[in-house]
């Protein structure tokens, strides 16, 4: 417990400062966009209506989707600007998060501002003209000051939304307090989840109170209060800006990880080996599955581990199923020629999609293979991870075996195992390297028709670092050295409910157990 908390505290300066900087930038940008829009919309219903409608529409897009949508958009822009100006804008991390959160921040400011300005007493507006104010003077001296309290209330709402939603920036590669939540959820570390939530809530409350102080200062005509509030807010942002400068230093190589334990462990393993060669490393964890490859191809990651079957179907969009060696060779050639990505080599274990059942139930129903399952499927309930039913593997399984289940539901992986054990579902999509298969006494169903491709774990290097001597020297010794038993055990160290280890500790254990030579 204490170890978990102290590990959470160690990364707090990094997570918190990045969260603060992202939120502050999004709010500042949102305000900078909203105010001119507000002024344009104040007189003209023709501007007002579409602006408000658009802002409301954006608000209805789920936060995570908005973040995800900006990524391909920026990727397109990035390659365009790369071709036109030789300058690639980063498509991963800060920029897509900033744009999405900025859009999110606009509505409360705009709606409150417009409501406030439209509801100003006409007698006061007439008086403002009557005493000889120009349109601009009337705006600055009368309309905005009178709308200020409500505008501030809008800004407060907006700040609370943005700080909360910024936790969703983690899967697109922007470090935030969301890293606690995503990682914690993945490895069932509730201390981390609660810690992340708690810090995000505290940050939102503190920001809200300081903005409230500014609002009070404006409303009560006590400028000192407003200045104190503003100064404290700016101090917070400046402090956040100062943290990464000393904590992070050079960025160096960027090692990526998708959002599950095995990926955290392998990233930690690669990280420690590169670091041991004397080079700085940054980890970008909790990347969405497709983001990781795109980010690598765009040189925003230097290296990460992916799986042959995933690359085959999701990146190359292939539906045929060549034998293992042929698939590996084809992948090596195609990834290199199409994306410039180098496939360094397989690690030695496979993390395939498998279908798994409770051992007792499988035995009772006499189900050993997916063929057996297909006959009884209409009476059984299927659970998959969040992406499983959208993946080509599922479509191939369905088509090849004619699978038709009584019901299907998607779960976050941790909850999927729990659903199976508690009997809410009968079959799940599991991963062959998952330590929980052995620990939970699950039966893995055979795939006699080879509907699911092989999923050998492979190290990929970005186009920029394809021939990088440091990466090659540090990572090559891992090739072929990690057997499935060791990977399962390492995964279970992180996933098990009691006596948990951090991914870094599991990586250290794995390196020792696999007798890996120290990196030179």
């Amino acid at each position: 417990m204490n170890e978990r908390l102290s590990s959470a505290l160690r990364v707090l300066p990094d997570y918190l400062s990045q969260h603060v900087l992202l939120s502050a930038a999004a709010l500042a940008l949102g305000l900078a966009i909203s105010l001119p829009l507000l002024i344009a919309a104040r007189r003209s219903a023709r501007v007002r209506w579409p602006v408000l409608a658009l802002a409301s529409l954006i608000q209805t897009v789920p936060g995570i989707a908005l973040l995800a949508l900006f990524y391909p958009l920026l990727l397109g822009l990035s390659s365009l600007s790369g071709r036109l100006f030789g300058l690639r804008i980063p498509a991963l991390g800060f920029l897509p998060s900033l744009l999405a959160l900025t859009l999110y921040s606009i509505l409360p400011i705009l709606r409150n501002g417009i409501t406030a300005i439209l509801n100003l007493d006409p007698a006061i507006l007439q008086a403002a003209s009557g005493v000889g104010m120009t349109d601009r003077q009337r705006l600055l001296r009368v309309e905005l000051p009178l709308a200020a309290p409500m505008l501030m209330a809008g800004l407060r709402t907006s700040a609370v939304w943005v700080i909360g939603t910024a936790t969703l920036a983690t899967p697109v590669g922007q470090t935030s307090l969301g890293n606690y939540i995503f990682t914690g959820l993945q490895v069932e570390d509730w201390v981390w989840v609660l810690f992340g939530c708690g810090v995000a809530v505290a940050l939102a409350l503190a920001t809200d109170q300081l903005l409230g102080l500014i609002e009070l200062g404006i409303g009560r005509r006590r400028p000192r209060l407003a200045w104190i509030g503003l100064a404290l807010l700016l101090l917070g942002v400046v402090a956040a800006g100062a943290v990464p400068l000393q904590a992070r230093g050079r960025v160096g190589y960027v090692v990526g990880a998708k959002d599950f334990s095995e990926q955290y462990i392998l990233a930690a393993l690669m990280d420690s080996r590169i670091r041991a060669s004397g080079y700085p490393v940054t980890e970008r964890a909790d990347l969405g599955s497709v983001f990781a490859f795109r980010a690598l191809a765009a040189n925003e990651l230097s290296a990460y581990v992916d799986y042959t079957g995933t690359l085959w179907t999701n990146i190359l969009h292939r539906t045929d199923m060549p034998p293992r060696a042929k698939m590996l060779a084809d992948l090596r050639a195609q990834l290199r020629s199409r994306y410039g990505v180098k496939l360094l080599g397989p690690l030695g274990f496979e993390n395939a999609y498998v279908l798994a059942m409770r051992r007792a139930q499988a035995a009772r129903l006499r189900i050993r293979s997916i063929e057996d399952l297909a006959r009884l499927a209409p009476k059984l309930r299927m659970g998959g991870d969040l992406e499983f039913f959208a993946r080509p593997e599922w479509r191939m399984l369905e088509a090849r075996y004619g699978l038709k289940f009584r019901s299907r539901r998607s779960y976050e992986p941790t909850f999927m195992y729990k659903a199976l054990l508690s009997g809410q579902v009968d079959v799940i999509s599991a991963f062959s390297s998952d330590g929980r298969i052995a620990a939970d006494h699950l039966t893995v169903l055979k795939d006699p028709l080879h509907a699911i491709p092989p999923y050998d774990a492979v190290i990929l290097l970005s186009p920029k670092h394809a021939e990088d001597p440091v990466l090659t020297r540090s990572l090559e010794p891992l090739i072929g050295q990690i057997p499935i038993q060791l990977m399962r055990e390492a995964n279970y160290m992180v996933d098990r409910p009691t006596g948990k280890r951090t991914p870094a500790q599991a990586a250290e254990w794995l390196a020792k157990a696999a007798h890996l030579a120290a990196s030179r």
Binding site: I124, Q126, G132, L146
Partner: protein, 257 residues
């Protein structure tokens, strides 16, 4: 001298006119009351003078200057404007409200302060009110501030639109009388819109009666009270006289007892 020359204004593209071809000359230092039912066009007419409303036809000339050639804000800084809603700025103190036009013009701060204090004395409000907010004042006090604000930049002309309409009768009478004294003392030209004919008779030197966007009567109160060919004007002007006669009768009755 204010000259309105054939001024017309429509709010519905010409289907009907709020003001139709009105001509009026107001010599300097006159106190003119414009009376009429609601919808008769009296407020619209008043607002064409400081360009709060732009007429479609005709023009307004002040001291031989055509007002549509002057920037609206510059024009309005030279003309005091008081209306029933008062429209004090709720986020500004009494001192800031009164000093607003001089500040817009760019008077030095010391001069603004002196002027604000002078005006507060003139409208009979204590100096302690300077730092208060409008919400802390009574209706009558607020209208005093409204008048002080209109007078701040030493305008020659005052436009007043139902200035005392929302006040209780006693305050209304007192403030009316006080304003008349200010008008005389400061040699102002005042146009006051009111629907209260008694107020017009008691304060103004001249009464203009409007109906359906046109002037139907124009004269000194004494002449209009004496009689007018238009029957509606006669009914209108009869009212203050009949009220006065009734009051006198009551007083005489009491005296006889």
């Amino acid at each position: 001298m204010i000259v309105l020359d054939n001024v017309s204004k429509t709010f519905d593209g010409g289907a009907s006119h709020a003001v139709r071809r009105v001509s009026l000359q107001v010599p300097a230092r006159a106190f003119v009351a414009i009376v009429g039912d609601s919808g008769s066009g009296k407020t619209t007419l008043l607002k064409t003078i400081n360009r709060l409303i732009e007429p479609e036809e005709g023009e307004v000339i002040i001291d031989e200057e055509r007002v549509h050639t002057v920037a609206p804000h510059a024009l309005r800084r030279r003309i005091g404007y008081v209306f029933q809603g008062i429209g004090l700025f709720p986020h500004m103190s009494i001192a800031e409200n009164i000093g607003i036009t001089p500040r817009l013009i760019g008077w030095p701060e010391a001069q603004i302060r002196a002027r604000v204090e002078e005006l507060l004395d003139m409208v009979a409000l204590p100096r302690t009110y300077l730092s208060r907010l409008p919400a802390e004042l009574s209706g009558g006090q607020r209208q005093r501030v409204g008048i002080a604000r209109a007078l701040a930049a030493r305008p020659g002309i005052m436009l007043m639109d139902e200035p005392f309409g929302a006040l209780d009768p006693i305050t209304r009478d007192a403030l009316g009388q006080e304003y008349r004294r200010l008008h005389d003392g400061m040699r102002l030209t005042t146009l006051m819109v009111t629907h209260d004919i008694l107020e017009a008779v008691l304060l103004a030197d001249r009464i203009v009666v409007m109906r359906a966007g046109a002037i139907v009567a124009d004269g000194v109160p004494h002449d209009l009270l004496a009689g007018h060919p238009d029957p509606e004007v006669r009914t209108l002007m009869d009212m203050p006289r009949r009220q006065a006669e009734r009051v006198r009768a009551l007083l005489e009755e009491r005296a006889r007892e």
